[in-house]
Symmetry: D2
Subunit: 348 residues, 4 copies
Amino acid sequence: MDLKTKRGFASDNNAGVHPDILKEMQRVNEGHTVGYGADRYTREAEELFRIILGHETEIFFVFNGTAANVIGLTGIMRPWNSVIMASSAHIEQDECGAAEKFTGCKVLTVDTTDGKIDAGMISKHLHGIGFEHHSQPRVVSITQVTEMGTLYTPAEISELAEFVHKNDMLLHMDGARLANAAAALDVPFREFTSDAGVDLLSFGGTKNGLMYGEAICFLKPGLTDDFKYIRKQGMQLASKMRFISAQFIAYFRNDLWLRNAAHANSMADILAEKIIGIPGIALTQQVESNGVFVTIPHPVADKLREHYFFYPWNEASSEYRLMTSWDTRESDITGFTRLLEKLMAEFK
Amino acid sequence: MDLKTKRGFASDNNAGVHPDILKEMQRVNEGHTVGYGADRYTREAEELFRIILGHETEIFFVFNGTAANVIGLTGIMRPWNSVIMASSAHIEQDECGAAEKFTGCKVLTVDTTDGKIDAGMISKHLHGIGFEHHSQPRVVSITQVTEMGTLYTPAEISELAEFVHKNDMLLHMDGARLANAAAALDVPFREFTSDAGVDLLSFGGTKNGLMYGEAICFLKPGLTDDFKYIRKQGMQLASKMRFISAQFIAYFRNDLWLRNAAHANSMADILAEKIIGIPGIALTQQVESNGVFVTIPHPVADKLREHYFFYPWNEASSEYRLMTSWDTRESDITGFTRLLEKLMAEFK
Amino acid sequence: MDLKTKRGFASDNNAGVHPDILKEMQRVNEGHTVGYGADRYTREAEELFRIILGHETEIFFVFNGTAANVIGLTGIMRPWNSVIMASSAHIEQDECGAAEKFTGCKVLTVDTTDGKIDAGMISKHLHGIGFEHHSQPRVVSITQVTEMGTLYTPAEISELAEFVHKNDMLLHMDGARLANAAAALDVPFREFTSDAGVDLLSFGGTKNGLMYGEAICFLKPGLTDDFKYIRKQGMQLASKMRFISAQFIAYFRNDLWLRNAAHANSMADILAEKIIGIPGIALTQQVESNGVFVTIPHPVADKLREHYFFYPWNEASSEYRLMTSWDTRESDITGFTRLLEKLMAEFK
Amino acid sequence: MDLKTKRGFASDNNAGVHPDILKEMQRVNEGHTVGYGADRYTREAEELFRIILGHETEIFFVFNGTAANVIGLTGIMRPWNSVIMASSAHIEQDECGAAEKFTGCKVLTVDTTDGKIDAGMISKHLHGIGFEHHSQPRVVSITQVTEMGTLYTPAEISELAEFVHKNDMLLHMDGARLANAAAALDVPFREFTSDAGVDLLSFGGTKNGLMYGEAICFLKPGLTDDFKYIRKQGMQLASKMRFISAQFIAYFRNDLWLRNAAHANSMADILAEKIIGIPGIALTQQVESNGVFVTIPHPVADKLREHYFFYPWNEASSEYRLMTSWDTRESDITGFTRLLEKLMAEFK
């Protein structure tokens, strides 16, 4: 079997589209439908978002996660503002400077080992307020679940939001893996989003069974004016919008989003459990969602990667990232860990 | 029937996705596939582009047409350059200033009644060359077929390209309806693209049966460096790229793209023919592809629009735009023109 | 004498700095002074502006005219807005696309033979309002005196402002040669600025005896927030601001600005009068300030330019621009026109 | 005496303009001179730069230091690049995000206590090379002398440059206080600039007796194309350029720049020496140029600031910055330190 089509652990976006999603896309493919989001499927999808996030939420669909982050931030920042985030954040590391290019803003970072940030870390950037020489801090951006697979608790988010608002800033949440957080936390969804004080949310699903499309959610009224122009000028207004909306309709139906994510999370738990038992392999992060971060000796990893596709996270420290998906099977894990165990035994 | 799902003449992007396209998207949805375009479906789709455009063509998929235009232009312009186009061009009228925002460049326009431009019109903008106070003209952008449904002949494009190159500029073609041009011209495809001297091509399909996705095609080597960064920073790199690639694979298979377009074109011919016969209705543009531009008295148009969805083009001159699609049926046209005829009779 | 230091008619910015200006710069050069505009000279200069423009005016000094236009516009536009101006405007022709690059906005133009625009010309750009696909018109920009040396009357400006405001837009005036307008119109200054409905004013002086520095004037309260950050991020905040302020203090003292401009205007009148008398030379614009536009046969102009420095305006129509300055002397004009007369006689 | 005009220690740009500079500005103020830098004074000034920096140097004057940094960087970066610098750098802290806004690039920082950075610190940012998701490191920017008044030795710069070039990057030097470095190091100027491997230099003088104007110096051929357009579009092309050029002509004449700087440096030495002797006051940085960084108890500093103007550097650690200037007199220092000594005695 081609290594690249075998279910591996490279990324949850290497998995395909959940059949229910595809089916819904097919279902809406009948007759003509007005373009650019003025259609009934989009209205329906937006309504579903409002049910879980609150009825004042404003929703704007875009094509992908980078756009959700960058275009969303553009709605609440002016070019002389700065946004503070973990130095490991996707916006900082993996969006090729799109935030700076499109918003014109400054990205300030704080270092953190587990991908999570708190008020104490942020404080060092809160100076020069009102001083025109200094870019004005305006947004704090967190990722839930983080790039390291760790989770903010609702209390942590509330506390951070309070600090952020007290300092006249806004809180953005990059939710590329938001469903995994929702499934893992198992509390009412708003408890760690709207009700916790998050202002702007990038709500993704491509890593959890969708094909494309992401939702920018303004969780409070009055946060942005004229946002429709920002999205259009940002090249993110889909003409056949119904096919993004259909995906979210199916995503929310019967909690597909939570079921997919819960499955991926549980696969990560199993994977972690099996790995811990292998002598010489160590976890480097708490396993709280669908990511498992481990140190594997490079020679072993190299051989393993001939059979399973996955990526190094930190070459220097021999750390690798293993992501489980909505379609990961227990047999995939067994096959993987058995081979790893065997290779480790030979390695020593 | 809901007016908005009835097959009308509002826009060719109100039509759905051709079943063969959807089927191919389903077909590639098996197992894991590496993301961001490093997959075999994308290689296959790129190869198909090279077959029709030439083996030196570099292809970059993006999400939509605005992005294809703007990101593509960014690859061949620097911020102190200007791009010259018809004042009726989509980039000028319907992309909310995305070109200026993302490229930092100046858009210069020329007025034209049929959407087509030529060397004579452009000349007025070719001054101040080498003068640092003046934004330097670098690209001429044409739309094929134009926003008015008219066509450039291969000879017209060649002549324009020659003039453009002689003036040390490049020629961009916005091909949102490129298939309609290909079907209408019925010459080898390269004759009005690569071989005619076009440098950069936005190759669209969403108006001709695709769901989303557009191809930026650099038709000559050496036109752009580091373009992959421009696309990523432009928020246009799809993670599950295989679903864009699959669409183009199906699009080119058995000439689906040409068959769809030829059908839409022929429907426009029939529509035009029937309309010409109705007293009091006049065509305002040559019908050369799938667009029919007509003057209809506003009161008549208002009543007609209660039954068929279509847009005014120019309120002042009582001009309306009627677009046919890959799925337009002759019965749609008959129904429409009969009603129009009836309303006109009553109107007089 | 070096041709390039001889008083010619190339540009009013080729003239030097008026001695009173230099003297004042020297006067403020004592002791330490807090930087970036928090000094008493800057307060004094701002107060002088408020006296002539109204006490609600907000003033921000920048380095030059391009910055005054571009940074000022940034204060009242968002990137999805457009600004409408004459195609001959300095912003369009001579600022290398700075407006597009820094504001992210679209510049729309209208053609005009005398550099002046009116409501009728602008109307064609006022469509697509509220339509997210279309860049939203927000500002109309006029130049007083125009690039062709012509003048808007107070009534013309009032009428245009009324139209602009009725369409929910703002009126910007590029006043690179504002003093020449003030001197020529000879009405209270506010009559064609604040009271006429101008919202934003670029108030220049470098073409009228200053060394550098220009004032961005918001003529009404509430037009801009946080503008200090826009100026700083725009690289236009001078550290030793007192030396810009000092120039304006001297500029307004004893009406130096009006006296300089009146002199230049009167020199243009004399120049025009003498030129009209020369057979074969024709004026192409009304002489209303300090610019004289004439057609001169190219061979004659070439010879003339061996003795006097001046620029062609339109190569194709053999049109040349002659600018007089605060330091032009009648003898310069006599010398110039005598030579021109002689050359014309030989030419025929 | 007004506190704000008394010679204090707030900033070296609070000092005025050296009389020789002003005199030269007056000298060039005769007759007409072609604008925008095509004049003989500018040629002369450029030649003087080439004498000290090497004959291949390309020089472009701009208005101020922020522009020199930002416009210069724009010449050698593309928007998907990043520039690495100390988190204390002026570009990062005091230019209101101008670099991000104008270049579109990402600014990456490293923490350093003395303002100096080295290869070891930078390394953490050198990953993801060639990976389109990651902004590509392209420039390392250092400040000489640093914002903390410390100095890079020629050897340190050479070593850093070698590392930078080995990693296919370029080295930028922010020389807002370059003369102070030159005076302090007392080695041939090129030894820590051109010959040490610096590629791009922001050469300032406003903190050392100039009025305005800064030079962007490309120290090697081929670093930038079309830079004249970047400067103009960056709103930094002065019309009456001769008055910037004149300043530099006088600046280099008889080593005025070095004499001014040497004086300021020696005043800082004296200030530091006297301060060290005061019980309870501690230096926080090596005094290597014209800045003295000290901890002073806040209540004492508050009283002192009623008599002398100076700024806190770090409120939290009670650290203050004292800058000496080309016009600081020993009596200023004596007055200041006596008062400080007295206040400290009372404080205890």
